[in-house]
């Protein structure tokens, strides 16, 4: 097991190095002068030179890359041009909100997708199977920004069942202020027993989380179904059937575990995807996460901020993949000895 994990870790380090290099290259391609963007269009030559010196824009490329890497590791992810705050600080405030949204969405996606996949496999080629296939296909085909708009218009603006936008009712900051520990509002509210903010957050979370959940839920249902059908075609299922187990038990008590490996790796893949898909949903529901930060950064051509968001999400993807490999070696004993 250690050997396998050390090799995976080595690969991950290489990928992280590549991710940093690629982010650096993309940001170097930006047309227009970052110094102008920082100092403003009315800045004189002296101010521009000062800005250039500050960002090291006159140094050779290799020096810049080296400085970039060194700064990243010392926690200096640059200064955002539009918030004038350190990017690392901005990300630390925006990311927990995204995590809250995507975390809730993935919980919904797994809770919906896995049982639907089991249902489809149980009644393979019958009506339930066809309906699960159809609905999961629709879920992965729907443009998420449009779904967000439609759901918001229908359930919030028109029917008024849920709040239209935001993370919680900010008026509550006055009546019952929130102590911040993790920056994840729902978690902080729960930890400090702040029920008004907790209920408000959960109410605000329902619609965006459901919208973000649609795509992963569809994928998970499809993958669970396919993996289970493949697993039930194997010899061991026939053996288990010959031991007297019923069709449902064959799926839930026997096939599900060996089938979990592909479903798990899918969830890791989908995690990073859901964060980015969440960007669009955050924009519609005005959720104070990475997506809104990214949108603001794009509008103001805020290179360090965009680089920060890009890098953070790519790193998340690498980490999520590592975690999944670890989990897989726990679930599937064959991986360990590979």
């Amino acid at each position: 097991m250690p050997r396998y994990l050390i090799r995976r870790l080595g690969q991950a380090v290489l990928v992280v190095a590549g991710v940093i290099a690629l982010t650096f290259v993309i940001m170097r391609l930006v047309p227009g002068d970052p110094a102008v963007a920082y100092a403003g269009p009315k800045a004189g030559p002296a101010e521009l030179a000062q800005a250039r010196a500050r960002f090291g824009l006159d140094d050779p490329v290799w020096t810049q890359l080296w400085n970039y890497v060194r700064d990243l590791f010392s926690g200096d992810w640059g200064t955002s041009l539009h918030t004038r705050q350190p990017v690392a600080h901005d990300l630390a405030t925006a990311f927990p909100a995204s995590l809250e949204l995507v975390g809730a969405a993935l919980i919904v996606a797994v809770l919906a997708g896995v049982p639907l996949g089991i249902l489809a496999a149980r009644y393979h080629t019958k009506f339930p199977d066809l309906s699960v296939r159809l609905s999961s296909m629709l879920a992965v085909s729907v443009p998420v920004f449009w779904l967000a708009l439609a759901v918001q218009t229908l359930f919030a603006s028109t029917l008024g069942w849920f709040p239209v936008a935001g993370e919680y009712d900010t008026r509550l900051d006055v009546t019952s202020p929130l102590h911040v520990y993790t920056n994840i509002t729902a978690v902080d509210a729960l930890l400090t027993g702040n029920w008004p903010i907790l209920t408000s957050t959960l109410a605000h979370l329902v619609l965006p989380a459901l919208v973000v959940a649609a795509y992963p839920a569809g994928l998970i249902a499809q993958m669970t179904r396919a993996a289970l059908i493949e697993e039930t075609g194997r010899d061991h299922t026939r053996m288990e059937r010959a031991l007297g187990f019923g069709e449902t038990a064959l799926l839930t008590r026997f096939a599900l575990r060996p089938a979990a490996a592909p479903v798990l790796s899918l969830i890791a893949l989908v995690f990073a995807y859901a964060i980015v898909n969440g960007f669009l949903v955050e924009a519609v529901f005005n959720w104070p996460g990475l997506g809104r930060y990214a949108a603001d950064s794009i509008r103001s051509l805020d290179t360090p901020a965009i680089a920060g968001v890009t890098l953070l999400v790519a790193l998340l993807y690498v980490v999520a993949n590592l975690v999944v490999d670890l989990l897989q070696s726990l679930i599937d004993p064959r991986v360990r000895t590979r």
Binding site: V19, L29, L130
Partner: protein
């Protein structure tokens, strides 16, 4: 799993596939309609001029009716017409992205799979790096760097999409390269490029084609999302994502301006997805969804 008889004339093969998978057949039919609509948009559209920059302020925001099946937008353009022209944009983007990505990815993948060793490792690690960026994210970053346009969208998405084909082709090419007849060809002194083109490449194509049809839906969704964010097609172009963006504030009052473009994206992506899924089940039954 349903097994499909893959013998007989091409027509019978298609017929067998169609009977085996109703959903995929529905997808194929929808797709045929969309392709026809895209090709014939200038002739099919009731108001061809509305596909571009025409404005009819007097007819702004008319609800769906006999004259305008899907209603009209803020400047009085026929929404149905713009949906038809939007099909051209979406399909063009999908074809261009997948073409670029497939050529780049398959080339690198074949090289990696056939050469093996260090070459393979280097190419696969580069692939991993690109795969770490979700398509929409890298496209966002690139679309900021380049000027917002359809071309930008195509380049940005293609850059994030090629690694899938590289990975897929490399694994197929590797397994093909390990087979007896390739060794035999090598021993007989057949030059490497010839082996690759004659034997390795053709064997890699079926899984790539299946993957292409599966990916087209994802490309259309990503492209429309970029346009929705204002990073893709620009006014007055007819693009579904852009149409949703332009009408989003009107959803409560004039639902048709947003609903129909969104449905167009949904239906197109759905058609590609079910067709790709059916093709995979029919042609490539052993490979699981990734």
């Amino acid at each position: 799993m349903t097994t499909v008889e893959l013998r007989g004339t091409p027509l019978r093969r298609v017929g067998n596939l169609a009977r085996a998978d109703v959903l995929a057949t529905v997808g194929a039919v929808i797709l045929a309609v969309i392709v026809l609509a895209a090709l014939l948009a200038p002739w099919l559209a009731p108001y061809p001029a509305d596909g571009g920059s025409a404005t009819h302020p007097a007819e702004a925001l008319l609800p769906p009716g006999a004259d305008h099946w899907f209603g009209t937008d803020q400047v009085g353009r026929d929404v149905f017409t713009r949906i038809l022209f939007g099909a051209r944009t979406s399909l063009f983007i999908a074809v261009a992205v997948l073409g670029l990505a497939a050529v780049a990815g398959v080339t690198l993948g074949v090289v990696a799979g056939y050469a093996g060793g260090v070459v393979r490792d280097v190419i696969m690690r580069i692939t991993d790096v690109f795969l770490a960026f979700p398509a929409l994210l890298l496209s966002l970053a690139l679309a900021v760097v380049l000027q917002p346009s359809v071309t930008t969208v195509i380049v940005a998405i293609a850059v994030t999409w090629w690694p899938w084909y590289a990975r897929l082709t490399a694994s197929v090419a590797q397994s093909v390269a390990g087979r007896g007849f390739i060794d035999a060809a090598r021993c007989l002194g057949v030059p490497a490029p010839k082996i690759v083109f004659r034997h390795v490449l053709p064997n890699s194509l079926t899984p790539v084609l299946v993957q292409l049809s599966l990916d087209a839906g994802g490309v259309i969704l990503t492209a429309s999302a970029l346009s929705y964010l204002g990073l893709g097609a620009q006014e007055p172009a007819a693009e579904w994502g852009l149409m949703v963006e332009q009408g989003q504030t009107l959803f409560t009052t004039d639902w048709w301006v947003v609903t129909f473009p969104g449905l167009a994206i949904l239906v197109t992506a759905f058609a590609f997805n079910v067709l790709g899924e059916g093709l995979r089940a029919g042609l490539d039954p052993h490979r699981r969804a990734r």
